[in-house]
Structures are given as structure tokens and as C-alpha cells.
């Protein structure tokens, strides 16, 4: 039964016997100085639909894979991958959606409370710290399991302009130029490492995010209904306003066409 339990994680083989004693409580370290519950939470995220984030001067692009578990499922009116936190912040989710909903709600409340108190939009990193502090709390006290969610936060504030952050169940976060979470995030990350360049235009960022996502997804061809592309940019009509725009079917088709990833038309060559 050892093989069934391990799954794909070969490196845990040696410490499996030992780790059995240290993985049932979040609030203790293992002898190797690891928090197994936190690591197991990250395992859960590795099974979830991928998300890719790419930063550029004009704004930030978030691309997410929508995993459709059944044809019978009613498509949700709001995305289950990309959420609006405030007018100037959006985030993509990888992991347990129910856990994510709790944190998203908290993020929204924190953002509005800041607005009420200071009459200005919450700085992106400040909001992220509040969320990550909550996540960290669940790794240190209370005896409750950690949140099985990683986020990609994209936002704009007047202090640092456009920003992209990634956070994980441990409560750690970092600022990124391009990053990925969810299934095959390691593969996505290495592609981003080689393909990302400074000075990308928004259209380039859209293409890069889509291309990387397609390489990490299970299916061979990217379809419009499996993809959620959201951009966070300054409004063209009013540059003092930030706009989060989730691309509609037409725009998604256009991006897929440009990247050469569109589903091949019948009797046409494959992309």
C-alpha cells in the first residue's frame, strides 16, 4: 500500500515511515524541519487546473485552465478560476475552490475596509500580506489544516504600478515577472524562464501566457471554453482608471488564432 500512498513523489520514500508520525498535526515540525501538512496542501494544488501570470509594462495577464469535471455541470456565471478582489486587483486561484472562496471573501472585505478608512485603493502588497498572514496562522496555531490554495494576484497601485504576486499555503509570497501555479507548474515555470523577456507588449504577454498554458494542459488542443484569460490594464478612455477585462469568446478565438493554437478546422492542417 506504500506505492498507492506515495503517488508520484518518489523522494518521500525514505522518510515515509518517519513522516507518518509528524504529518497529522500542522503545529509541529518534522525532524527534518518540514511542515508536512503545508507540503501536502501544496500537493493538492498540484492536481488543480494551471494558472499562468505574465507581467508587462502595459499591465498584467492571468491565464487559467478551467477544468470541466462533467458535461452536466452548469457553467458558472462567475469564473471559478479568476476573481475580482477590487477595481484594481484580480486574482487567479489554483487548489481547493471552497478554501479559495473563504480567502477571496476576506480579501474583498479587507480591500473595502481599507477604502473606507483611507478613501483610496488598497496597495497590492499590503492586501496580499493580510491574506498571507491569515494563511500562515493556519500553519502555526489552532490545530486546523492549512488552506489548499495558491493565488496569483495581479494589481495596480500608485506606489509600485502594476504588480504580479504568487502566494502558497505556507503564507509565503513573492513578486514575479512571470510565474505559474497548479498542475505542471514546474514545467510552465521553466518555459517562462527561457521565453520571458523584459519590455513585452500586452499582446506578447497574452500570447506567452496562452502558449505556456497550452503546453501544460492535459488536452492536446486549447479550446475557448477551457481557457480563462484576464488582463489588468489602464483604461484606454481614462488612464486614471484600472480595468480588469476577462476576454470573451471572440477575443479568445483571436488570441488562439495568433498563437497558432486554435482548434484545427476540418480538412485543414493541424496547428
Amino acid at each position: 500500500e506504500r506505492d498507492e500512498e506515495e503517488g508520484a513523489c518518489g523522494e518521500w520514500r525514505e522518510s515515509l515511515e518517519m513522516s507518518r508520525r509528524y504529518d497529522s498535526r500542522t503545529t509541529i515540525f518534522s525532524p527534518e524541519g518540514r511542515l508536512y501538512q503545508v507540503e501536502y496542501a501544496m500537493e493538492a494544488i498540484g492536481q488543480a487546473g494551471s494558472c499562468v501570470g505574465v507581467f508587462c509594462e502595459e499591465g498584467v495577464v492571468l491565464a487559467a485552465e478551467k477544468k470541466v469535471t462533467s458535461k452536466l455541470l452548469e457553467p458558472s456565471k462567475t469564473s471559478e478560476k479568476v476573481y475580482v478582489i477590487d477595481k484594481h486587483i484580480v486574482c487567479a486561484v489554483a487548489g481547493i475552490t471552497a478554501d479559495a472562496n473563504i480567502l477571496i471573501n476576506q480579501a474583498r472585505l479587507s480591500a473595502q475596509r481599507y477604502r473606507l478608512a483611507y478613501q483610496e485603493p488598497v496597495p497590492v502588497e499590503y492586501l496580499l500580506q493580510l491574506i498571507c498572514d491569515t494563511k500562515q496562522g493556519y500553519t502555526q496555531f489552532g490545530g486546523l489544516r492549512p488552506f489548499g490554495v495558491s493565488f496569483l494576484f495581479a494589481g495596480w497601485d500608485r506606489h509600485y504600478g502594476f504588480q504580479l504576486y504568487q502566494s502558497d499555503p505556507s503564507g509565503n509570497y513573492g513578486g514575479w515577472k512571470a510565474t505559474a501555479i497548479g498542475a505542471n507548474s514546474n514545467a510552465a515555470q521553466s518555459i517562462l524562464k527561457s521565453d520571458y523577456k523584459d519590455g513585452l507588449l500586452l499582446s506578447d504577454a497574452l500570447q506567452l501566457a496562452t502558449k505556456v498554458l497550452s503546453k501544460t494542459m492535459d488536452s492536446t488542443t486549447l479550446a475557448v471554453d477551457k481557457l480563462d484569460l484576464t488582463t489588468l490594464i489602464k483604461s484606454k478612455s481614462d488612464p486614471s482608471m484600472i480595468v480588469a477585462h476577462s476576454l470573451n469568446e471572440e477575443e479568445l478565438e483571436a488570441v488562439l488564432q495568433e498563437t497558432g493554437l486554435a482548434k484545427p478546422k476540418p480538412a485543414d492542417e493541424a496547428s
Binding site: 456565471k77 462567475t78 475580482v84 478582489i85 477590487d86 477595481k87 471573501n105 474583498r108 472585505l109 473595502q112 475596509r113 477604502r115 473606507l116 478613501q119
Partner: protein, 204 residues
Amino acid sequence: MSILNYNGGCVVAMAGKECVAIAADRRLGVQLQTVSCDATRVFQMNDRLFLGLTGLMTDVDSLHNLFDFKVNLYTMREGRQIKPKTFSNLVASTLYEKRFGPYFSEPVIAGLNADNTPYLCAMDLLGAPAKAEDFVVSGTCAESLFGTCETFFRPDMDAEELFETISQALLSALDRDSISGWGAIVHVITPDGVTTRTLKARMD
């Protein structure tokens, strides 16, 4: 001296055919002294919904900020814009929560329903709502505004006529109130958008 008369000010809203208008004066005073001529007491909550607040200015500001908070959360959680009648109920509940230590402000809500029919509602400081099909008023010259609106109003006006009517109703009432006035602003909401105009008024 009532606390509701401390800063002065008034708001009126009127319905037309598939349009609403909401207008207010721009005076902020400390009893008889005028302090500002560009005070804002009418706020846009979403594309088709306006909130006007009279009374104590600090409560006008606080309530406006509080409703921005609540409406933003509503919009994000529901994934859609709040309806005027739902917002009215939100305002009423928020005011009644402070039943024994109220906000000294009497709101006016003006909006367009999804089918483009106008929605008007006024409330007292404790949140008792009064819906109307024609016009609603609030503020230190509310009684005068009732008189002018009753006289000038006619049903099914278009946006241009509505603007003229509400402007004349407001200006006539302002001239009889020493603590309202010093400028006026009018917003006209139609299915196509919002037009905002300031009125040339007696600056006294």
C-alpha cells in the same frame, strides 16, 4: 436649532419617461456662515443609480463611503449591479441599525430599473422609506420643494423637459431658503447614460 439644519442643503429627484433626474444645491455652511460652494451631496452608486443625502455633512460623507463599501461587495459577490429597490432596502436597514443613535441624514434614491422605468424613493433619518412615481424631496427647504415640484411637475417628460422642470423647481425653492443654495447641480439619467450640468444660480 435642529441638527439636521446645521449644515443646510437640499436634494430633489424627479421621474420622466424612461429617465430620472436628481438635483441638489452646493452649499456647505456652519449655521449661518457659508463655508463651501462646491459641496457634493449627490453620489453615483452605479451606471443607473444615484444617491442624494441631506442633513449633517459629516454623516452625508460617512454614509456615502459606507454605501460604496456595501455596494462594491454586493457587486463583486453577486456578479451583477444592484437594483434600485434592493439598494433602497440596504439604505433603510443601514439607517435603522442606528435607531437609537441615528445618522442625521435623509436620503433620496433615484435610479432606472432594468426595464428603464424610473425608481424614486426618499427616506427619513431612521430609514422609513417613501416611494413615489413623480418626485421626492429632502433637506432644509423640503417643504418649499414639495410646493415647487407639485406645481411644475407633469408626467412622462423626456430628458430635456425633465432637466428644465427639475432645475426650475430646485432654483425656486433655493431662493426661499437662507441655508440652501450657493450653486446647484443636476444629473439626468437615461438608458444611454448620465448627463451632469451645473446651474447658474443666485450665489447667496
